[in-house]
Symmetry: C2
Subunit: 254 residues, 2 copies
DNA sequence: TAGTGGTCTAGACCACATC
DNA sequence: ATGTGGTCTAGACCACTAA
């Protein structure tokens, strides 16, 4: 069987992997390289099979895994598309806040955003470490408030590596409709692929308490999120303070 | 193609579903019925294929999904086994607490348990509603403390439907080594399949503060977990108070 | 009607575990 | 050597979408 050149040429070939895993890696490379942009259709299974000289079933298994990991979206009768945070289906994929009443899944549409700050500055040491950039390098700091029915619910502080987000301004941010990750895709070609969150309970203090309209000392959820793009490259650090008097963080365990 | 009788006979057949989904449903039924117990091996793919009169590939797809949903565990060369909470691999599958330092995945082995209470009583209205039993029906209440290096970290209050857990005593609980869900499997034939958690930040108060050795008013994570067995039947309500000064709740978003 | 993904089959061969 | 799951193929047919 003809070994796949691009993989065979990879630095320090890792022993052995099934064909479909090699195909998957190739597709991931091309996604990362931006060959197909978020929302675009990728070639059909038959065409990819022909291109890679494997059977359709092998391509299918590779695509199945990529679809399951939220890189691709399959649509029967139409084709397979690059996943995007700008869609209805995936909107607020990363926001796990739920209203206490709201039965089941009424998503947090009608969350009003209020931009508090957007400025470029040198990254503090802690931020630089998380984003894997040099301490003191340029970074973008964003602070914003999410409100529900006029009441503040979430106070976000967001840190982005400066060089990757050239041209990001308060204007661009506040005029953008839809999820912030959609803006990142459209303007900066950066797709968030995975995130990890560390959740703690903390006491509201100072400015934060005032902005969230709670008394100092009120328990709040502190959600520290580190989001990654392709290749496990961290590109966003987000510290969110959540009021949980009318909302809660929902998690499904399997 | 010979339709699968057991499925065809199901009440109000739901239009149409692929063959492998029907096989999956049949396997789930047998798991639920206890035909194969946790940790046991199920018949080989070939045998199931023969039994159901479908191809091996169709059985494979059904098993693949069940494995992915943590009902089954595949082991190459050995067979396919019913998943269990008593294994190393899945131990503490539902406990997301991580030490703040601890690098990556050192799991919370060396969490010491201290049983505070285990008694039978009438279920309070709120508990009954969650467990879908009648208000005032028999229930088991368990309270326990998890400690790390002598320091209290988690205070759990657990509610179980009384009839399902006949014979559960404080002795059985405190003498059991390994995860509590392992005991539930071994003694009561109840496998936890899925759980949902609602997380909030609350202030420590009264007894709870004392037991966790924190000052009243200290922010704590309140984790309300509802665990389900087969057929989405709720069988455990757990309210955990987590100290998050040295630990955090970790979540992966994809 | 043509093109796409979705299902199902049958058979060959590989990798792993056990005897 | 045997039995298990894992990979790969080739081809048939179904279900959905759009022109």
């Amino acid at each position: 069987m003809p070994v796949l050149d691009a993989v065979a040429a990879a630095p320090s070939a890792p022993a052995f992997s099934p064909l479909y895993q090699q195909i998957k890696a190739l597709l991931l490379q091309r996604l990362q390289a931006g060959e197909w942009k978020p929302g675009e259709m990728i070639p059909s299974e038959m065409e990819l099979a022909a291109r890679f000289k494997v059977s359709q079933g092998t391509v299918r298994k590779a695509i199945d895994e990529l679809a399951q990991e939220n890189h691709l979206v399959r649509r029967q009768g139409k084709g397979t598309f690059v996943a995007t945070h700008a869609e209805e289906r995936t909107q607020y994929r990363f926001l796990r806040l739920m209203p206490d009443d709201g039965g089941g899944n009424p998503p947090q549409t009608r969350l009003q955003r209020r931009l508090l700050e957007c400025r470029r500055m040198r990254a503090p040491a802690e931020v630089a470490r998380a984003l894997e950039i040099k301490s003191g390098e340029a970074a973008v700091q964003i602070r914003r408030l999410l409100l529900h029915a006029g009441e503040p619910v979430v106070l976000d502080e967001i840190w982005l590596p400066g060089p990757l987000f050239k041209g990001l301004t308060a204007d661009k941010l506040s005029s953008w409709r839809g999820p912030m990750y959609g803006l990142f895709e459209a303007e900066f070609g950066l797709r968030m692929v995975r995130a990890e969150e560390k959740i703690r309970a903390v006491a509201a203090a100072g400015d934060d308490a005032a902005l969230l309209a709670v008394a100092a000392g009120t328990p709040l959820l502190l959600v520290e999120r580190l989001s990654h793009t392709y290749g496990d490259r961290p590109v966003e650090l987000r510290r969110g303070l959540y009021r949980t008097d009318r909302f809660h963080y929902r998690n499904e365990l399997q």
